[in-house]
């Protein structure tokens, strides 16, 4: 009986699986928020009639999948959360050069021959006003005694943007800031979302280097959280979109990039509280021009990544 049931259910399941396979016109792999790609895909299909299937995960998981699939890849468009990916893939020669007509208003540092930003996030201090602590305005404030044992940092080994923030701040003033933070009881708490959650409940008062759009979204839902961009500067994480050269649907993929950079597409980006890549699109939050952006020497910083991370881990041990 058991055997027959198993056979029957497997056959039914196989049927289900095969009929359920959609052959999309464009396949997008994205490390961005799920709600963003859902809305972009729906809007794109409505406007052009071209179907979109997407796979959404963290940057690391997306890369692991692309590497494992390399013998027979299916991805047409990749949207990463780290500009590093765009540089790396361009060096490997995996990208199709394309400049969308809609990219005219995207500033030069957010586009290259083979990639263009979808949107931009920045790192900030996410602070809970109910935490009975004074409102911080600078990174260094969080090393003060008022915030003893009340600060979380996302792990730079898990978050590319946090790593760049650490590198940029260390380039400014050495490792002293982080030593002070560690001495003040700040802890390194997993990836971005994991670091924010204890601040919302009140176990901690602030995240040092929170991803801004997640905190803005929480604030929109009524969470008690404020996003503070220190005047001394912060880093931004542009999210590059690129077309892979093995894509058999390159024309449709280009149309997808065009849509992503259109007025409608950028409005969807702005609605998820990311900064739009186009400077002429409004958003209900501080934009790139409002921030003091710290620049890093990407090549040197990434060459020293292992050493920076090891030193950082040493400080917070």
């Amino acid at each position: 009986m058991l055997i027959n049931t198993a056979r029957g259910s497997l056959a039914a399941f196989a049927l289900l699986a095969i009929t359920g396979t959609a052959f999309a016109d464009v396949t997008v792999y994205t490390a961005g928020p799920a709600s963003l790609i859902e809305k972009l895909a729906a809007g794109f299909t409505e406007e052009t009639g071209i179907k979109v299937e997407f796979f959404q995960a963290t940057t690391g998981q997306v890369m692991a999948r692309i590497e494992a699939e390399a013998a027979n890849p299916v991805v047409d468009v990749l949207i990463s959360a780290s500009w590093d990916t765009a540089t790396d893939f361009a060096e490997r020669g995996w990208l199709v050069p394309y400049t969308s007509p809609n990219a005219a208003n995207v500033p030069d540092f957010l586009k290259s021959e083979t990639a263009v930003a979808q949107g931009v996030s920045a790192l900030a201090i996410a602070w809970n006003p109910n935490s009975k602590t004074p409102k911080p305005s600078e990174w260094a404030d969080l090393a003060k005694p008022e915030y003893k044992d009340l600060v979380n940092l996302p792990d730079p080994a898990q978050s590319g943007a946090t790593f760049e923030l650490v590198a940029a701040l260390e380039a400014q003033g050495g490792t002293k800031l982080f030593e002070d933070l560690a001495a003040n009881g700040a802890i390194v708490a997993g990836a971005n979302a994991e670091a924010l959650n204890p601040v919302l409940q009140g176990a901690k008062a602030a995240v040092f280097g929170a991803v801004d759009y997640i905190s803005f979204n929480g604030k929109d839902k009524g969470e008690s959280i404020e996003v503070i961009f220190p005047a001394s500067g912060t880093v931004i994480a542009p999210r590059p979109a690129m077309i892979l050269n093995w894509s058999k649907n390159q024309d449709d993929a280009k149309k997808f990039i065009d849509y992503m950079l259109s007025d409608a597409g950028q409005a969807i980006v702005a609605a998820t509280n990311l900064m739009p890549a186009r400077t002429d699109v409004a958003a209900n939050r501080p934009l790139i021009g409002d921030l003091n952006i710290l620049t890093i020497d990407t090549e040197a910083v990434y060459a020293g990544r292992e050493a920076t991370l090891a030193a950082f881990a040493e400080i917070f041990q």
Partner: protein, 558 residues
């Protein structure tokens, strides 16, 4: 080849071997190949061995290995301390409300460990639910090795509880009564007769708990990193997600863990075969349980405390989060409501599709691994085939591989351009992944059960003219069915919530329950994720209960 001349190959063994090759050997072969040829994903055999040599020296490796062993052993010891006494009491005595306790012990199984951990964090961290309600927090305890062992034990002890209570029940009091007749005290006959005869179930379930403990990612990642307590799994994940330059260490780390699993497995093989545990001999036996007498109150109290900690606390924390409009609002009346549940309903298609996908995958995985597990265990325990040792190794192999490595192996194997048809990019690849990861569970349970079934029973069936398949289906399978069903339930529970492999191999556009919840967390919608988790726990607990009571098997499982 003399054996095959005198005895035709048993079809059960052939099916088992074929299934194991597809489910385990193929992805494993590709993982090994990729470790040797790092460019394999690109269809190239360039630069062999370049990565293996790179990673052999890592000072952190030793510390992580030590931590992993410590964690596994700690969880096994604490789980046994909690589960074995309760299971023995449940099996040999009439415990008031026995069925209720069984159901309550089933729930921790169904709570995904990362959800339970988050529930504990939200309950015990400073200004958590415990502090909001009762004014205390236990953060120093929770974020320590003891906290990790505590939380993981509450998640895994049901494995031992169900295995031991079933085995002891099967042993019954009959053999112990013989001891009593010959003058042994009740304690003595328990220690010397009942407990030793239950060793297969106990050993199998302890091995499973050890494997689950050193495999679990969410709990050590959430609690341990703050305490500076790194284990191999968190090390593997860091490397896999860190980018190409750091990724090369991952295969080595998983291999170290694999060695540990094999060690535990071999030590179990060392314990078992020396003696006979055959207690199911075909003689009818009365199932008679004793009264607890004056011990009734303390025993019931023990069940209450354990199910409160393992079931009530995490469930209440999950529910509290799911009912909160905002996390920062805390547990005030104005902040509570059904907003998150309403949001799930509003996202009907997405949430419902994720639920159906995961539930059907869970059922399919349970049936498939149950069947394959029973056949493989039969081939290993009850036949004298050549190569059955190899089959045995194949069944334990998945325990040595973390989900993310299995996922990568499956993609490498099934995404080759020359394959005419492939399960890749269909839901079937998820089924293959779940079967590979979870196969050890039914195999271990079925192996333990087969060890207790007398050889005579099959022989009798064969004497009366039954072929090997008929004897398996009509005589042996029904005898091991209670154990097998328990393990299939476990497979169902774990498959419906598997996260790591699901994220990597899921076909584009397909969501499972776990990826759905994970995405909510990633976007900071903790309440929404918890609401979905709560609904899932209810369904995954109720569904097997309903199915089993419809089948009329409730008595044998619960």
């Amino acid at each position: 080849m003399s054996a095959t001349r005198t005895q035709p190959v048993n079809p059960a063994v052939l099916i088992a071997a074929f299934g194991l090759v597809i489910v385990v050997a193929v992805p494993f072969a590709f993982i090994v190949l990729q470790a040797i040829f790092p460019e394999l994903g690109r269809g190239s055999l360039a630069a062999p061995f370049s990565r293996i040599l790179d990673v052999l020296v890592d000072p952190r490796l030793i510390r992580m290995t030590g931590n992993t062993v410590l964690l596994g052993v700690g969880v096994v010891i604490l789980s046994s301390l909690i589960a074995v006494p309760l299971a023995v009491l449940r099996a040999l005595f009439r415990v008031p409300g026995a069925l209720l306790w069984d159901v309550l012990m089933l729930v921790p199984f169904m709570i995904p460990p990362y959800i339970a951990t988050l529930g504990w964090i939200m309950a015990l961290q400073p200004r958590g639910y415990a502090e909001q309600l009762f004014g205390f927090n236990l953060a120093p305890f929770l974020f320590s090795i003891w906290g990790i062992i505590f939380v993981m034990t509450l998640n895994t002890f049901p494995v031992i509880y169900f295995a031991v209570s079933r085995t002891v029940e099967a042993v019954g009091s009959r053999y112990a009564d013989v001891g009593r007749v010959f003058g042994a005290s009740a304690w003595r006959s328990f220690w010397r007769i009942t407990l030793p005869l239950s060793t297969p179930g106990l050993a199998a379930s302890m091995l499973l708990v050890f494997a689950m403990a050193i495999e679990e990612y969410g709990t050590p990642a959430a609690l341990g990193r703050r305490a500076g307590f790194d284990v191999l799994v968190t090390g593997i994940d860091l490397r896999v997600s860190a980018g190409p330059s750091a990724r090369r260490g991952a295969p080595l780390l998983s291999r170290v863990r694999g060695v540990m699993c094999f060690g535990a497995f071999l030590s179990r093989r060392g314990i078992l075969p020396r003696r006979s545990y055959q207690i199911t001999t075909g003689k009818p036996q009365k199932l008679e349980k004793r009264a607890l007498g004056r011990w009734t109150v303390p025993v019931v109290l023990a069940f209450v405390v354990v199910s409160f900690l393992a079931t009530a606390v995490p469930l209440l924390a999950i529910l509290a989060t799911a009912l909160s409009r905002t996390i920062s609002g805390g547990l005030t009346l104005s902040n509570l409501g059904l907003v998150n549940f309403a949001a799930i309903l509003a996202d009907g298609p997405g949430a419902l599709k994720a639920l159906t996908t995961s539930l059907s995958l869970g059922v399919a995985a349970a049936l498939f691994t149950g069947l394959l597990g029973a056949l493989s265990a039969y081939a290993v325990v009850k036949t004298s085939m050549r190569g059955r040792g190899l089959l045995d190794v194949l069944t334990i192999l998945p325990n040595a591989l973390p989900g993310i490595v299995v996922a990568v192996g499956l993609i490498l194997a099934w995404n080759q351009p020359w394959l005419p048809v492939t399960p890749y990019n269909t839901a079937l690849i998820l089924l293959l992944a779940y079967c590979c990861i979870l196969l050890p569970q039914p195999v271990r349970y079925a192996t333990a059960a087969f060890h207790q079934v007398g050889d005579n029973l099959e022989a009798v069936a064969r004497v009366f003219g039954a072929g090997p398949m008929v004897a398996f289906q009509r005589v042996l399978l029904p005898l091991i069915l209670p154990s097998l069903l328990a393990s299939m339930l476990l497979v169902f529970a774990v498959a419906t919530r598997e996260l790591v492999a699901s994220i990597i191999v899921a076909p584009v556009g397909l969501q499972t329950i776990s990826t759905y919840i994970w995405r909510q967390f990633e976007q900071g919608s903790v309440g929404l994720g918890m609401a979905m988790a709560f609904v899932t726990i209810l369904i995954t607990t109720l569904l097997p209960l309903i199915v089993l009571s419809l089948l009329g098997k409730r008595g044998s499982l619960l």
